[in-house]
Homo-oligomer: 216 residues x 4
Amino acid sequence: MQAGDGAPAAADDEATADAPRRGRPRSEKARLAILEAAAELLLARGLSAVSMDAVAERAGVSKATIYRWWPTKETLALDALYNEWAGVQPRTRSTGTLRGDLLGLLRPWVRLAGSRPYGRVIGALVTEAQTDPEFGEIYRSRFVEPRREQARAIFAAAIERDEIPADTKVEVAIDMLYGPLYHRLLHGHAPLTERFVRDVVDTTLGGIMPGQAAGT
Amino acid sequence: MQAGDGAPAAADDEATADAPRRGRPRSEKARLAILEAAAELLLARGLSAVSMDAVAERAGVSKATIYRWWPTKETLALDALYNEWAGVQPRTRSTGTLRGDLLGLLRPWVRLAGSRPYGRVIGALVTEAQTDPEFGEIYRSRFVEPRREQARAIFAAAIERDEIPADTKVEVAIDMLYGPLYHRLLHGHAPLTERFVRDVVDTTLGGIMPGQAAGT
Amino acid sequence: MQAGDGAPAAADDEATADAPRRGRPRSEKARLAILEAAAELLLARGLSAVSMDAVAERAGVSKATIYRWWPTKETLALDALYNEWAGVQPRTRSTGTLRGDLLGLLRPWVRLAGSRPYGRVIGALVTEAQTDPEFGEIYRSRFVEPRREQARAIFAAAIERDEIPADTKVEVAIDMLYGPLYHRLLHGHAPLTERFVRDVVDTTLGGIMPGQAAGT
Amino acid sequence: MQAGDGAPAAADDEATADAPRRGRPRSEKARLAILEAAAELLLARGLSAVSMDAVAERAGVSKATIYRWWPTKETLALDALYNEWAGVQPRTRSTGTLRGDLLGLLRPWVRLAGSRPYGRVIGALVTEAQTDPEFGEIYRSRFVEPRREQARAIFAAAIERDEIPADTKVEVAIDMLYGPLYHRLLHGHAPLTERFVRDVVDTTLGGIMPGQAAGT
DNA sequence: CGGTAATCGAGACGGTACGTCATGTCTTACA
DNA sequence: TGTAAGACATGACGTACCGTCTCGATTACCG
């Protein structure tokens, strides 16, 4: 499986550098039209509505062209979604405190996730990731790991400046931050507000830092 | 939509009591065969493999019979899964401490969730719940709310005996317990161990109880 | 392969007689609509235009229904063509002379074959018969053998009344009658007129009957 | 349409003589590789297996090169087949009798036609000829007319030496010779033996020559 | 004990989408 | 200019399910 074609990194198959590239070059116009059409369908009516036929028609492109670059509609959906999220990469570099950095990391995520029906899409991708392990690898490396890596850096900096103990279980802490957010996003039993983000961050920090309860 | 037919509660359509029920009665054998066939397919190959045709053939039943009682394969899958989980409902009444009660609540859940590939199934149900709000209602009332209700009772008892402050944000606390568990179940980026449950409970309690850090 | 469904003989799979016939019965309306649509396409634009999609659309029928009864478009075309030719089965019983009987046999064939672009269709069926032996069996048993059988009976009667020698090579004679007709029908190098039929019959009879040349 | 490029006569498009021919000259190697690959596929698996992609791959040639010289796969197949048959052009100059000359003409044809599965190929070409009149012209001028011309010359010589009447219907006679042979070749209802050739010739001659029956 | 009524099995039906394949055109770089 | 490579639009292929439907057969109650 290869679903890295929508990514900016490119890094093609073998000859990376400046191979002459014989044959007709890939149509960039078609690539973008496909991703756009897929994204529209995805957000409007969910992954199940992303049929190859529908994408082909909407993008004014042949089905064969889609299959040439994306093996399944799931990988296509993943690329289409990534295309949308990649543009809104929020990072907000260090505020000086762990709490501030975490809020800077999570608030944009919540704002983005809540802005459109992404819950449905992510749910579908998660389901597919469970069915197809190879797809799971790609999904996590694109959507999960980058966020966790940012969080790890934030925690490392906090340990560096002695804000939290050096033996803090960082992986658990990250799950305690993202877990509740994903929980509300996917299950929808309660709203995913910014206030909720603050509560989650404060409770988690309260559980990590000795002798300090959650503040408001 | 009606998906309550596999439930023990029964409580049929309108006339609750003991109507004479003319005509041939529903075949209990067929009902069980269908649920069993659906559950097998569900766990073995995921929701996408639960086709009405496949269930009908495997259960030795006609497709019309399935559609007679379940409007979609999703509702059928939900009933089939519920059938499996309902039997393993351990709650372990009060140990006297909040921590003990919470561990008693969450540990069996983790053990059950990890015993078979339920992550895939739950992911699929969650996705469907996002697409079909009516289905979402049923899903939550069967799988999410009962657990949360138990947790609420546990927290209420802890407040009663002054173990935690009376103004504890219980809903947030519950999300901080179940969120990380669902997170690992669905995303699979890290194992869903009993040790992780303990870490989650301890961190959450540390964030709630003033002047007390997470213990081991 | 089974392509006998358009035939009048029916004689279904196993239980010929009065089986209870479970399940929804086959739609006669659909069957006829399919055959008619196929025949139209076949004669208008040749076998290559008989796509299952086109037939399905034109007949207002689902593709699956076609595939349920005809394994390939060739068998469908064969049935469709047979449906047209079966209705025009003129035989004209014995005129008393071999020459008269043969003309009575061949003239209607030529008239039918020349009435519409059947040459193209028969050519396609012949080609398919060469590729798929099983199909060849069916094709010959429906289109070739019945005609030859009629010719054999005519020759046998002529031998009976001592019009031709008893050791006449009947199979060769039949090939000498139908061969030239098919030749012109398929190759189209010269017109397939009734005069040509007469010439062919007379020449063949002249070659069979000793001491008698072709008359007019 | 142009399908004369595989022919030995060459005689290219316009400038026949010795034009300077700018640009890269046509690759003779490619031309032969294409014809060879097409012929292999044609005889091994029929015309339907002669896909432009398959020929291109097998010949180690680009599809564009094939389309550059042959407009359709049918014209390519025709050239490929002609390439094979041209080498085995029947010779047998006059034996002195009509019967001997005709046998000398037809026997090599039967031997060649029966040596490999040519029936399938010729059936396909005939079918295409019916669909595309222009193709039909070319097909007949290459495969049918040359043979008929040879036969006409043989009959003319026989008339010259008073072996048969001057008013013999030669075109009918030729159809009565080739018709039965093509009939068995294409329909395959009976073997195409040399004995059959003799029977056909003798019966035809018997029908032409007054007062003379078929000999053995 | 026969009539009414809802169930069940079987399976045909009109659809939609699947993923693959072949056609014929086009666009590049190289020869 | 010709050629190899290969992307492209088009459209048919044969399969799998969907959800609906029409049968005949079965099994209760109810009058």
